[in-house]
C-alpha cells in the first residue's frame, strides 16, 4: 500500500463513478455498433485462420477496456509445421 491509498480510502464513490462511466460508455456505444476492440478481434482471427487452422484449445483472448486506452491480447499457439517436412527430407 502506498501513501496515496490512505487518501483514496476516504471515499469509494469516486471509484464507483469512474468504473460506471467507463462501462456505460462502452455499453451504450455497443448497443448501436460493435466496439472497435471486438471488431479487431474478429478480423485478426479471420486473417490468422486463413493461414493456419486455429485450435480453440490453444487460443486465449483477453481484453481490458480502459477510459483512455483498451488492450487486446490474442495468444495463439501455432503448431510448428517445419518440423515434420524437415524430418522427412533428412
Amino acid at each position: 500500500m502506498n501513501l496515496l491509498d490512505l487518501f483514496k480510502r476516504r471515499g469509494s464513490a469516486p471509484v464507483a463513478r469512474e468504473r460506471l462511466q467507463v462501462l456505460l460508455a462502452y455499453e451504450r456505444r455497443n448497443r448501436s455498433q460493435p466496439d472497435l476492440v471486438s471488431v479487431l478481434r474478429e478480423e485478426i482471427m479471420a486473417v490468422i485462420a486463413k493461414h493456419v487452422q486455429i485450435d480453440q484449445d490453444y487460443l486465449q483472448v483477453s481484453m481490458d477496456r480502459g477510459e483512455t486506452m483498451s488492450t487486446l491480447e490474442i495468444d495463439i499457439q501455432i503448431p510448428n509445421k517445419s518440423a515434420r517436412p524437415l524430418a522427412l527430407s533428412a
Partner: protein, 271 residues
C-alpha cells in the same frame, strides 16, 4: 466432483450477487477452486461486483452456443488465483439459455472446480429455474422483511420441485443466509427476528450478515467484501458462512449493537 451451489432469493435487491461474490471469494481463499457463474442474462452485474467488467470477452451464452470454449470465457480473478468468473451475456435475452446447454456447462465446471456458485437472477422465471436446475445445494438470501421472506418461501418450494436432485427423489441441501441485518432495529423490535425468519421458512441458517457500509464500499471498488475488507463484521460473517457451507460446525452469533461509551452516556442509537 465439485459441488454446485445456487445463490437465489426470488426477490431482487436482497444481496444475491454480493453474497455470491463474497462467499465464492471466501471459499477460494482457502485454496479451493471456485467458479462463479452469472445467470442474469441481459442484466449481468457479477462482473461489476467482482471488478472484472473491463475484461469480459466471452460469456455463458457464447459457451452454450459454441462460439467460445469454456476455458476462453472463464475470467481468472486478479486477487485470488483459484477464483474464476463466467459472466452472463449482456446483449441477449434469457431465451438464449437452453437446459441442455446449461447442463453441459455445469457438468464441465463441476469436473474441474471444487465449487460452482450460480448467481440466480431475481424472479421465478426461466433464468432463475435454470440457475437452480443442477444445484446440489442452495443458499437462499433473505432480508428480515416480510416480502423477502415470502419470496424465499416460494423459492424453497421451487427448489424442492424443479431441481434435478428433487426430481430424482433426493433432497437438495438448503441454507438461509440472512443479509442486511440491522442489530439496532432488531433490538428495538422493529425487524423480524432471526428466529421468526427461521421458524417461518423452517430451513437451517447459514449465517447472518449485518448491514454494513463496507459492503457498499466493496461494490464501489469492485471487490468482494471478503477480499477488500476481511476484518469487517460483514466480511467475517461471510467467511464464517463459507466455512459452514464447507461443512464446518460453527455456531451462528446474532450480531448485536455495539454502543460506544459516549453513545451510552447520551442514550444515542448507533446509525
Amino acid at each position: 466432483m465439485g459441488k454446485v451451489v445456487v445463490v437465489t432469493s426470488g426477490k431482487g435487491g436482497v444481496g444475491k450477487t454480493t453474497s455470491t461474490a463474497a462467499l465464492g471469494a471466501a471459499v477460494a481463499k482457502t485454496g479451493k477452486k471456485v467458479a462463479l457463474v452469472d445467470f442474469d442474462v441481459g442484466l449481468r452485474n457479477l462482473d461489476l461486483i467482482m471488478g472484472a467488467e473491463r475484461r469480459v470477452v466471452f460469456d455463458l451464452v457464447n459457451v452454450i452456443q459454441g462460439t467460445a470454449k469454456l476455458s476462453q470465457a472463464l475470467i481468472r480473478d486478479k486477487r485470488v488465483e483459484t477464483l474464476f468468473l463466467l459472466p452472463a451475456s449482456q446483449t441477449r435475452d434469457k431465451d438464449a439459455l437452453t437446459e441442455e446447454g446449461v447442463a453441459e456447462v455445469i457438468g464441465k465446471l463441476r469436473s474441474v472446480f471444487d465449487y460452482v456458485f450460480c448467481d440466480s437472477p431475481a424472479g421465478i422465471e426461466r433464468g432463475a429455474q435454470l440457475a437452480m436446475r443442477f444445484a446440489d445445494e442452495a443458499v437462499i438470501v433473505t432480508n428480515p422483511e416480510v416480502s423477502s421472506v415470502r419470496d424465499s418461501d416460494r423459492i424453497i418450494g421451487l427448489l424442492d420441485a424443479r431441481t434435478v436432485k428433487a426430481e430424482q427423489g433426493e433432497q437438495i441441501a438448503k441454507h438461509v443466509l440472512v443479509t442486511r441485518y440491522d442489530a439496532a432495529r432488531a433490538a428495538r423490535g422493529e425487524m423480524l427476528s432471526i428466529d421468526d425468519v427461521l421458524e417461518i421458512l423452517s430451513t437451517p441458517l447459514l449465517g447472518i450478515i449485518p448491514e454494513s457500509q463496507d459492503v457498499l464500499r466493496a461494490s464501489n471498488l469492485g471487490s468482494p467484501v471478503t477480499l477488500s475488507d476481511p476484518l469487517n463484521s460483514a466480511a467475517r460473517a461471510y467467511i464464517d458462512a463459507a466455512r459452514r457451507l464447507e461443512g464446518e460446525d460453527l455456531p451462528v452469533v446474532v450480531p448485536f449493537e455495539r454502543k460506544g461509551f459516549l453513545d451510552r452516556l447520551l442514550g444515542r442509537r448507533a446509525a
